[in-house]
Amino acid sequence: MNLWRLERLRLLRTPRWVALLASYLVFGVGMPLLTRYQQALFRNLGGEVRVIAPEPTPTRSIAAYLSNAMQVGLLVSVLVAAGSLAFDAKPELAAFLRTRSTSMWRLLLPKYATSAVAVAAAYLAGLATAWIGTVALIGSTPLATVPVGGGYGALYLGFAIAVLALAAGLARSVIGAGGIALAVLIAMPIVGQVLPWLEPWLPSTLVGAPTAIADGASAGSFLRAAGVTAVAVPTVLWAAVRLLARREV
């Protein structure tokens, strides 16, 4: 038994892994279907009102997956990961871990890495499912959408979980830490809209990478945001360690 196994067991022995996987797979399966049959659904609604649905395209299908996965999926991911990262929420549990660990890095790293990998894996499983559904029901889309576009998306999720770790250093409770993290993640694309010159550098830009790549964009156009994110993750984790180490239980 060690801290890495503890985090694996936390995922596997509780409904956390089901919630995580379901929150992405539901949209991976559902969005290509909805995009493909949206026009037929609206046609069959009947009544006086005529609803015009857009033509189903591979890009729309992938974008529909991302839109939902990065809202509902991200919310579920943050709450699931907060259950592990906000370990000071229960002082007795925190005392067990803190009095036995020689460093906060040793304590935080398994929690962060396991959560980030689990969230990224669920997201990629959903994206791969959405890509397969899109190709089967709507039409071909570049294969790079999944490994390259998905890689960028997974990197963003790794950043999101690092922000959550930092939030856990600011708030003790699961809800408090999750709330702070979500507020930061929601604010980031708004900052990108207010300051357009900053947008290509923001981690939140990576969210749209699979759609853009499916639409023919170059994978290299996201390198600036990926670079910033790759630097931001260890920096944010370092700040989280500092905050958590200073906290009294």
Binding site: R13, A95, F96, R98, T99, E248
Partner: protein, 294 residues
């Protein structure tokens, strides 16, 4: 040699003073009982010693490797989906990964949880969690054991067993434990510290506290009528007070033990009393504690 030493230790939470000028000294090999009413600052002091809280001012010196010191909170809690064995094994792996896994089974057996080692702790009672907390604390054979109210949640038998365990553990190291159950402290500790409102009112050998702080008294039990005996005892120069303690017992507080030892028998003989028993009143920590803290 002092294993734990604090000097002028102070801890405040805003305007509230939790610890005030505490000079704690725990000698190596001792069983130190930290007693005090709820809110006296015991958990705060233990939290500072365990590195969970920071002192506002003063010094803390713990002369033992951090990994050789184990701290148990007053209400241990664990992830409910872990088994008892996994909890103790995690504690072992975190403190000393090279330590044999047999230590896990030894610790579980010591606290009487060997039979439920494979059960998830989510269904454990408060007492079982307390025992599991102790098993997780002792698994790496710590040199210094700091226990916050280790027997508080246990039934009388459980308390007895835990206290006996604490006594046995003290043979391999030093134990500091806090309690508001004075009988527990009196049963196992050799040194005591009395804390009230953040101040250490007394610190020293338990025996010295009991003898220094209590007035010598005798319990004299006679058959009725007891009034003539009470009057005769009260007239003695060495008798400070004589009280009817009920059930035919007279409590005689004395100013001189040698005079009382010689005089009680003579008084009883003079009054032709039918004697049942005479015994010195045992000094107990509770009365000393009340005297110190009220």
């Amino acid at each position: 040699m002092a294993l734990i030493q604090t000097s002028s230790l102070r801890k405040t939470y805003g305007a509230t003073v939790a610890l005030d000028d505490v000079d704690l000294r725990v000698e190596a090999g001792s069983i130190y009982g930290l007693v005090g009413p709820n809110g006296a600052g015991k958990s705060t002091l233990i939290g500072i010693l365990g590195g969970l809280r920071r002192a506002s001012s003063g010094e803390v010196r713990v002369d033992v490797d951090r990994r050789r010191m184990a701290v148990m909170p007053d209400t241990p809690l664990f992830d409910p989906w872990l088994t008892a064995r996994e909890v103790v094994d995690l504690a072992r792996a975190m403190v000393d990964p090279v330590l044999s896994e047999e230590e896990v089974e030894r610790s579980l057996a010591l606290v009487g949880l060997a039979d439920v080692a494979g059960r998830r702790v989510g269904g454990f009672s408060r007492g079982m969690l307390q025992r599991l907390g102790i098993a997780a604390t002792i698994v790496a054979r710590p040199e210094l054991l700091v226990l916050d109210e280790p027997a508080a949640a246990l039934d009388p038998l459980g308390r007895y067993e835990v206290l006996e365990l604490v006594r046995r553990l003290s043979r391999q190291g030093t134990v500091l434990f806090s309690s508001h159950i004075l009988a527990d402290v009196q049963r196992v500790c050799d040194t005591v510290g009395v804390l009230r409102e953040g101040r250490l009112l007394y610190q020293g050998p338990l025996e010295a506290l009991l003898t220094e702080r209590t007035r010598p008294a005798y319990l004299v039990r006679v058959r009725p009528p007891i009034e003539p005996v009470a009057e005769a005892l009260a007239s003695q120069a060495w008798a400070r007070t004589v009280e009817d303690a009920g059930h035919g017992v007279l409590r005689v507080e004395v100013s001189s033990v040698p005079d009382a030892e010689r005089g009680i028998a003579a008084v009883l003989a003079r009054t032709d009393a039918r004697l049942v028993s005479v015994e010195p009143e045992a000094a107990d920590l509770e009365s000393v504690f009340l005297e110190l803290t009220t």
